[in-house]
C-alpha cells in the first residue's frame, strides 16, 4: 500500500507547504513550475492537506489549504513551515553531482556557490571530507563543446581491442563518464553507424567545420549490444576475480561459493584472452575454442618477447 509513489507525493507536499507559507501570495503557476505540479495535481494535494491536522480534527485543528483566484493559500500549518531534512544519500547525491560536473569542466559560478553553501551546512567541520575525481583525458573540453554545438570532428583513434589506429569523422552526440573512463557516443561516418569511443584512446581531434543533427534522446550508458560475430567463452572465476561481473556485461551461468561461472562475450577473442591472462589463476577457461586459441597465441607472443619459449 505504501509505495515509492506515496513517498514522493508526501515529500512534494511536505516541501511545497513550507515554500507557500514563506512566500505568501504565491501563484498556482509559480508553485506548479517550482515543484513540478500540474494544476490538477496541486489542487488535489491541497484538498488532501485541508482534511488533515492535529488531534481533535475539528475546524480549528485542521490545516487550511486552497486556491483563491490564482493564489495558493495555506494557513494553520506552521508545524510544516520547514521542509524535512535531506537524507545522507540525498546530500551525497547532490554534492557529488555538483562536484562531478565541476570536475568535468562544466561548472558554472552558480553551481560552485551552490555546492559550497550546501557543503557548509552538511559538513560544517570538514568541508574537505568529500572529493569527487573524474579522469581528465585529452580533448574532453573540445568534445563537450563540439557535442553542444553539433559540430563534426575528425579523430585519430586507436581501438582498445584491435590496437589499430584509424582516422574517422564522427558526429559527437553526448560525452559521458562511467566506471572511471570518459566516452563519447557518436555517429561514425566511416562505419555509417552509432559507435562509442573512449576518450583516452583518441590520439588527435580536429573539427571539420561540418554540422549535424543530433537525436533527441542519447543513451549515456555503456550498454553492450552483442554483435553477430561475437565470440563466446565460458569462464570460471574464483573469488579474487568476481569483480569481472561488475565491469563487463556477462551472463552468470552458475554461482556457488567457490566459483562463479559466467559466459563472456567479446567482439574479438583476444579481448577475452588478455583478460584471462590478467586474472591469472583466479580465472579458468571452461569452454571457448577461439578464445583458447587466442590465449595460446598471446602466450607464445609473450614467451617470444621474454625469450622463454620452448
Amino acid at each position: 500500500m505504501t509505495s515509492p509513489r506515496t513517498a514522493s507525493r508526501l515529500n512534494r507536499i511536505l516541501t511545497m507547504l513550507p515554500w507557500v507559507i514563506a512566500n505568501s501570495g504565491a501563484t498556482v503557476t509559480e508553485v506548479c513550475e517550482r515543484f513540478g505540479y500540474t494544476r490538477r495535481e496541486l489542487v488535489k494535494d491541497l484538498d488532501l492537506v485541508f482534511v488533515c491536522g492535529l488531534p481533535g480534527y475539528g475546524p480549528g485543528d485542521l490545516m487550511v489549504a486552497y486556491v483563491d483566484e490564482d493564489e495558493v493559500v495555506v494557513e494553520m500549518a506552521d508545524y510544516f513551515a520547514a521542509p524535512p531534512r535531506l537524507t545522507g544519500t540525498e546530500v551525497l547525491g547532490l554534492l557529488a553531482a555538483g562536484m562531478a560536473v565541476i570536475t568535468a569542466g562544466a561548472g558554472t559560478p552558480e553551481l560552485e556557490s551552490a555546492v559550497s553553501k550546501l557543503r557548509d551546512v552538511v559538513l560544517p567541520d570538514s568541508t574537505e571530507a568529500l572529493v569527487v575525481q573524474l579522469p581528465d583525458p585529452p580533448f574532453l573540453p573540445e568534445l563537450r563543446e563540439l557535442a553542444r554545438s553539433h559540430q563534426v570532428a575528425s579523430i585519430e583513434y586507436t581501438g582498445l581491442a584491435s590496437g589499430e589506429t584509424t582516422q574517422r569523422d564522427i558526429e559527437p552526440w553526448a560525452v559521458f563518464s562511467t566506471m572511471g573512463n570518459w566516452y563519447v557516443r557518436a555517429q561514425c561516418r566511416r562505419a555509417e553507424s552509432e559507435r562509442v569511443f573512449r576518450l583516452d584512446r583518441i590520439r588527435s581531434l580536429t573539427p571539420t567545420g561540418d554540422t549535424f543533427e543530433a537525436p533527441a534522446e542519447v543513451d549515456t550508458t555503456l550498454s553492450y549490444v552483442p554483435g553477430p560475430d561475437d565470440v563466446a567463452a565460458t569462464i570460471r572465476l574464483a573469488s579474487g576475480a568476481r569483480w569481472v561481473t561488475d565491469y563487463y556485461p556477462v551472463e552468470v551461468l552458475d554461482d556457488v561459493p567457490e566459483a562463479l561461472t559466467i559466459e563472456f562475450m567479446a567482439s574479438d577473442p583476444m579481448v577475452t584472452a588478455r583478460l584471462l591472462l590478467r586474472l591469472g589463476a583466479a580465472a579458468e577457461l571452461v569452454s571457448g575454442d577461439e578464445v583458447g586459441m587466442a590465449l595460446d597465441a598471446l602466450r607464445s607472443r609473450l614467451e617470444a618477447r621474454y625469450g622463454t619459449g620452448e
Binding site: L14, L54, P55, L118, A147, W173, S177, D246, L277
Partner: protein, 305 residues
C-alpha cells in the same frame, strides 16, 4: 493512497507538535486514520508508516517516556526535522538540479525529491549533452552520513570486522573509497567490498587530523597501493608509447629512445595489479626488472600461478 497520505500527514503533524515521546498506543488512540484497526492491522500499518517517514529523512527516534524508563515512545527531536537553510538562490537551485540530471549514482537517475527539499527549482531547461555515472553501493548513504556526523563506523571487510573513524569519502577511478583511521593507521576501504555498515557511538566523536588530505590518501594507480615496495623498469614499444605515457601520469621517470620506444621506472606496491596492467600491452611492452618481478610475470604467462 489518499487514506495513507492523510494518516501520514496527521501522524507527522502530531509528532511535530506534541513535544514529548508518545507511545504507539497513544498514537493509535489519538491520530486519525489508525482508529478502528485491529491490533495486527495497526502494527503493520504503523511499521510501514515509520519506515516511509524515516526513508524521507524524518528523524523518528525512540525514547523513554519518563525517568523510570518503563515505557518507550516516539519523538522527533527539536531542530532535527529540518536542515539549517543553506540560503540558495533560485539560480543556484537550478544549477544543482541540472547537475543532478547529468549525474547518476549507479544506473538510476537521481530522485528530484532532494531538490524539492531545498525549495524546488523553477525553469530547469535541458542541460548540455554531458553525463556521468559515479556508480553506487548500498552503503554509500550511511558511510557519508557517518563522515558528515563524525560518527564511528562498523563493517566487515576482507573477512574481518572493522571499527573505524571515518575521515572522508572519495570517488576515484570509477570507485568509491572510504578513508578512515583503523587501529592507528589511515587506510582506504573500497565501498563495494564492504559488508553491511552500521554507524556507532555518538555524533562528533571523530577528530580528523588538521593536516589530513583526502586527495592524497588514495593512490592514483591500482599498483600504488599494497604491501610491496619496488621499482619496475619497463620498455614500451613505439606504437604503444603514447598510451603508456597517458596512463603513467607525470610522477614517473620516462626516457625515450631514438626508435620511439620509451623506458619507464615505475614504483610498484601491488605486484599483481601491476603485472595485470603490463600484460594488457600484449607483447608491445617488456618488464625488464627487477628479476624476480620479471619471473613473476613469466610465471603468469606460463599459467603456473
Amino acid at each position: 493512497m489518499q487514506k495513507v497520505l492523510e494518516r501520514l500527514l496527521n501522524l507527522l503533524a502530531f509528532l511535530l507538535t506534541v513535544d514529548r515521546p508518545v507511545t504507539a498506543d497513544e498514537i493509535r488512540m489519538t491520530v486519525a486514520g489508525y482508529d478502528r484497526s485491529s491490533d495486527e492491522a495497526f502494527r503493520r500499518m504503523f511499521e510501514r508508516d515509520k519506515d516511509l517517514l524515516r526513508g524521507l529523512g524524518v528523524p523518528l527516534e525512540l525514547s523513554a517516556t519518563d525517568a523510570w524508563e518503563v515505557e518507550y515512545g516516539y519523538v522527533i527531536p527539536e531542530d532535527a526535522y529540518t536542515l539549517p537553510d543553506p540560503g540558495l538562490t533560485d539560480e543556484e537551485r537550478v544549477a544543482l538540479a541540472l547537475a543532478s540530471q547529468a549525474v547518476r549514482l549507479g544506473g538510476e537517475a537521481m530522485e528530484s525529491g532532494a531538490i524539492l527539499k531545498l525549495g524546488g527549482a523553477p525553469g530547469v531547461a535541458a542541460g548540455e549533452p554531458l553525463a556521468a555515472d559515479l556508480g553506487a553501493t548500498a552503503s554509500l548513504g550511511d558511510v557519508f552520513a557517518a563522515v558528515s556526523e563524525r560518527r564511528m563506523l562498523r563493517f566487515p571487510y576482507r573477512d574481518s570486522e572493522r571499527h573505524v573513524s571515518p575521515y572522508g569519502v572519495i570517488h576515484r577511478r570509477g570507485r568509491w573509497y572510504l578513508v578512515a583511521e583503523d587501529s592507528g593507521t589511515v587506510k582506504a576501504f573500497r565501498l563495494d567490498r564492504m559488508g553491511d555498515v552500521a554507524l556507532s557511538g555518538s555524533p562528533g566523536v571523530v577528530e580528523r587530523p588538521p593536516d589530513f588530505d583526502l586527495a592524497t590518501a588514495v593512490p592514483e594507480a591500482p599498483w600504488e597501493a599494497g604491501p610491496d615496495d619496488e621499482t619496475a623498469r619497463v620498455v614500451f614499444d613505439a606504437e604503444v608509447a603514447w598510451w603508456a605515457r597517458r596512463q603513467l601520469g607525470s610522477g614517473v621517470e620516462i626516457s625515450e629512445a631514438s626508435d620511439g620506444s620509451v623506458t619507464a621506472e615505475i614504483p610498484v606496491r601491488n605486484r599483481d595489479a601491476f603485472i595485470g596492467w603490463i600484460l594488457g600491452f600484449d607483447d608491445s611492452a617488456e618488464l625488464l626488472g627487477p628479476p624476480d618481478l620479471r619471473s613473476a610475470l613469466i610465471e603468469r604467462v606460463r599459467g603456473t600461478t
